[in-house]
Amino acid sequence: MSTNTNTSVAQIATNKYLTFVLATEEYAIDILRVQEIKGWSKVTVIPNTPNYICGVINLRGTIVPIIDLRLRFNLERLDYGQMTVVVVVKVMGHSGRERIMGIVVDAVSDVYDVAESEIKPPPDFGSVISIEFIKGLATVGEKMVIVLEIDRLLNSDELAMIENIAKH
């Protein structure tokens, strides 16, 4: 146990987060999970998938699914264009397997150092806002950024449910 706390202490100084903008909100993800940032390219639509799954792209020979984060969070759809940004991230699947996926965001914002202790658990909004994907809220200077739990984006129950329907 003691070693655990030690390592987390060591991490406090080095945790960098990439932030991006979605509508008017700023979201952050652990920068170690970010593989690359690329522009929008045409996707191949996968039939019968939830609307937030844009489709798949070819990332140097690997088939990578693209998720529209706006749609995932039930925000208004924004047309894809030259300015649309895809952040390619590594997420951990159910079985502990690493997957690669792209998330569509409005714009990439900045890279911040955020101490672990500065990340506060999200307040409970009841059923008004789903906090399923939110790891916590962090304060950077005067701003508040929302730290995302990206492992849940592809592995949510919702998706599993739809998968089940498709199977039967």
Binding site: T44, V45, N48, N58, G61, T62, I63, P65, I165, K167
Partner: protein, 798 residues
């Protein structure tokens, strides 16, 4: 030097395993009563060369064992025996034992002696040359036995009584015993007398004492060296039994041997039925020396009260080991082995993913057993090596020479092409453009061929997996009292090695099921008007870019009524729900679903079927069942080739491009609307010559916008999958090309109707259609769409 030796050793093991396979299949081909000279010779050669090899590497006990088997085979060869079923069975057992010994020796672990001895006893039972000996007098046997093993072998009895604090000093008896096991054949017995009750037990304390029997060419100092580390922490007595044995008068040993016989017959795992008593005694004394000698010694003080007990025995009396202790302990090894084999299930699973080192594994087993009591090192290690072997096998692959030759040829051509391109590039001039083009075309061809040949190396004929079934069926049908004929076809169908390896367990399970539940007992079969002998058919073939494996039996078939009842009683089904047979078959795959009225030692129907299906699905395959009551059951397993490349037909629907495997396309045609009929206003069928084929509109199934909706304007591609045909309606056909299959599941998940994806020339992704999946999807598509639509509505409301 030492590296060379290990390589030679490795070669010996590999060759021996291979020739044992041959021996096994030869034995199964052997007809009762009629000794086929060629077969017998071939079997003889196998045993002979193993014996020779074992001799080179000084695996003495193996030489002895192989020698006995060889003698029997020699007798058969010279016509002294007619071949009986019992003889074949014993020889098959010999194969198992040899295989076990080899595996253990390869892993430098002690092997399970009891099975060797049991087999040896049974083998001896047939021997003409020994039969005369055994009938004359037991004394002859006893005196003969030590002579055989005596050469350089010594027998040591080690009594090891560690202090309670032994474990606290960081010493683990198991390490000591492992060291000892390296010196020779080791039998370990633990004494549990000092074990406190659970409440009083302190886990850190060592309450056990051990009695070890060591057989081998070992000097006292070797043993002492091993125990050097714990010298101050234990009471140690090392007794040289060989000296004792020799010093004993023949009659003394004889009587002792007889009394040992009683307990040793209890001891043998499966007392041989054929062998008469004296033979049993002979075998027990002769080769079970490690155990038997201890019996001799322990019995002596009690049984030989009248006769002169040599003074040398007194140290034994100080052992204070109760007599019955020996007997009860002789049972525990079996129990422990049984237990450890149960442990397999939990232990081998993690092994699949990341094979841990044997040491860790062993520790796990011990921990799980909760024993410092190493009743048998043998039992544990036998199981260990069983888990080890697959990993060692997986590291190498045997490739036929012609595949290698192909590769060499292609590489040769590639080199020529390359030098040609080199020449062209020197002082390049536009005149040489045509030449350059030719060169590039050639390069492309070479590349493709090279790729194909490399792929072929991974492909193995399915016979590698099927080969084990003759033996399995043989053994199972004997133990179940059924008569079964095994028919195999399509063994040459090639399958990717990884797929093949993952399939072998599911196949074994299905074959066992078929024998256990499917095929009836001879009497029942006759009563049902069927031939006495049941038929089990394993069939492999290519179908539409897939490999199909069929396991069919002509047994009783599924009892649908019972499945129905069971499904209701286990709450999977409402009594009033209408069900189709297909839905009922689904229940078979439900975890823990069993309709077997009694669970046999093999399986209860349904147990493990969920695992079978999971394995098959993990390979991207599927399994389905066809069963006709009274006629039999067929399991159809569909597997992808896992050839990462297939010949694809590109089709366009709207703006989307999909790929169909060329192998699944039967024909494509323009639609004559007069030949389209609709059923119930919804489902459409197309009249193709004499057939009615359901029409599947891909755009509607996949919700593709801007697609051609009028049947006359598009094309109908007739495709086949899972034995069914459908007409797939698409906008147009594009080119055909070889495509590299990429998995969707790596980063996403499997999608119904899609088997994978590929990357087209322009870098975009195209999805590969899964024909069987489409057909299934088309049958259920309506409800899905409705439910999906509902989901979306639900989503938007929030």
């Amino acid at each position: 030097m030492s590296i060379d030796m290990t390589e030679v050793r490795q070669l010996f093991f590999e060759e021996s395993f291979e020739s044992l396979d041959t021996m096994e299949s030869n034995l199964l081909d052997l007809q009762v009563g009629d000794a086929d000279k060629d077969l017998i010779n071939s079997i003889f050669r196998v045993v002979h060369s193993i014996k020779g090899g074992a001799g080179i590497f000084k695996f003495e006990s193996m030489v002895g064992f192989a020698h006995t088997a060889e003698t029997l085979l020699d007798e058969i060869r010279s016509g002294e025996h007619s071949v009986t079923q019992a003889m074949i069975d014993v020889l098959l057992q010999t194969v198992d034992v040899l295989r076990m010994m080899l595996t253990q020796l390869q892993a430098s672990e002690p092997y399970d002696e009891s099975s060797v001895n049991t087999c040896l006893i049974s083998l001896r039972g047939f021997l003409k040359t020994h039969e005369t000996d055994t009938t004359t007098a037991p004394s002859a046997v006893v005196s003969a036995a030590p002579v055989f093993e005596k050469k350089s072998t010594q027998y040591w009895k080690i009594i090891f009584k560690p202090d309670e604090s032994l474990l606290k000093t960081g010493n683990d008896p198991i390490n000591l015993f492992n060291e000892l096991a390296l010196l020779g054949t080791l039998t370990v017995e633990a004494e549990l007398d000092h074990l406190p009750t659970w409440q009083e037990l302190v886990v850190q304390n060592c309450y056990l004492n051990w009695v070890l029997m060591l057989e081998g060419n070992v000097q006292r100092q070797h043993i002492e060296e091993i125990f050097e580390w714990v010298e101050g922490d234990c009471e140690l007595t090392i007794i040289d039994l060989s000296a004792e044995l020799v010093s004993n008068d023949a009659p003394t040993v004889e009587i002792a041997a007889e009394s040992a016989l009683e307990s040793s017959s209890v001891e043998s795992v499966t007392p041989p039925t054929v062998a008469s008593e004296p033979i049993e005694a002979q075998g027990a004394i002769h080769s079970e020396l490690s155990a038997a000698v201890s019996e001799v010694v322990d019995c002596a003080p009690e049984t030989l009260e009248v006769s002169e007990v040599p003074d040398t025995f007194t140290p034994e009396e100080s052992l204070e080991i109760p007599r019955n202790f020996e007997v009860s302990e002789s049972v525990t090894p079996e129990e422990t082995t049984a237990f450890t084999s149960e442990m397999d299930i939990s232990v081998t699973k993690p092994v699949d993913k990341a094979p841990p080192t044997p040491k860790i594994d062993k520790a796990e087993v011990e921990d799980a057993l909760g024993l410092k009591n190493q009743a048998t090192l043998n039992g544990t290690s036998a199981h260990l090596s069983a888990t080890n072997t697959p990993s060692s096998e997986a590291s190498s692959i045997r490739v036929s020479i012609d595949k290698i030759d192909d590769l060499i040829n292609i590489v040769g051509e590639l080199v020529i092409t390359q030098s040609m391109l080199d020449q062209v590039s020197e002082n390049f001039d536009f005149v040489k453009l045509a030449q350059l083009r030719d060169g590039l075309t050639q390069l492309e061809r070479n590349t493709r061929e090279l790729q194909k040949s490399v792929m072929r190396i991974r492909m193995l004929p399915i016979s590698y997996s099927f080969n084990r079934f003759p033996r399995l069926v043989h053994d199972l049908s004997v133990s179940l009292g059924k008569k079964v004929e095994l028919k195999m076809s399509g063994e040459h169908t090639e399958l990717d090695k990884t797929v093949l390896e993952k399939m072998s367990d599911p196949l074994v399970h299905l074959v066992r099921n078929a024998l256990d539940h499917g095929i009836e007992k001879p009497a029942e079969r006759l009563a049902a008007g069927k031939p006495e002998k049941g038929l089990l058919h394993l069939h492999a073939f290519h179908q539409g870019g897939n490999i199909m494996i069929q396991i069919s039996d002509d047994g009783a078939g599924f009892d649908m009524k019972r499945i129905h009842e069971k499904a209701i009683s286990s709450g999977l089904l409402n009594p009033d729900d209408p069900v189709t047979d297909e839905q009922l078959y689904e229940f078979i795959f439900h975890p823990g679903f069993s309709t077997a009225s009694q669970i046999s030692d093999l399986s209860g129907r349904g147990v493990g079927m969920d695992v079978v299906r999971r394995n098959i699905r993990s390979l991207g395959g599927s399994i389905d069942i066809r069963s006709i009551p009274g006629k039999g059951t067929t399991f159809n397993i569909r597997l992808p080739l896992t050839l990462a490349i297939l010949d694809g037909q590109l089709v366009r629907v709207g703006e989307e491009i999909y790929i169909l495997s060329l192998l699944s396309i039967i024909e494509s045609l323009r639609v004559n609307s007069e030949q389209v009929n609709s059923l119930a206003g919804k489902a459409e069928v197309y009249k193709l010559r004499d057939d009615y084929i359901p029409v599947l509109r891909l755009y509607s199934l996949f919700n593709i916008p801007n697609a051609v909706t009028r049947l006359e304007e598009g094309l109908l591609v007739i495709i086949e999958g899972d034995g069914q045909r459908i007409g797939l309606f698409v906008d147009e056909l594009l080119s055909q090309q070889q495509i590299v299959i990429k998995s969707l599941e790596t980063n996403y998940k499997s999608v119904a109707g899609i088997s994978g994806a590929t990357i087209l020339g322009d870098g975009s992704v195209a999805l590969i259609l899964d024909v069987a999946g489409l057909i299934k999807l088309s049958q259920t598509s309506v409800p899905i769409m409705r439910r999906l639509a509902k989901e979306r509505e639900h989503e938007y409301q929030h």
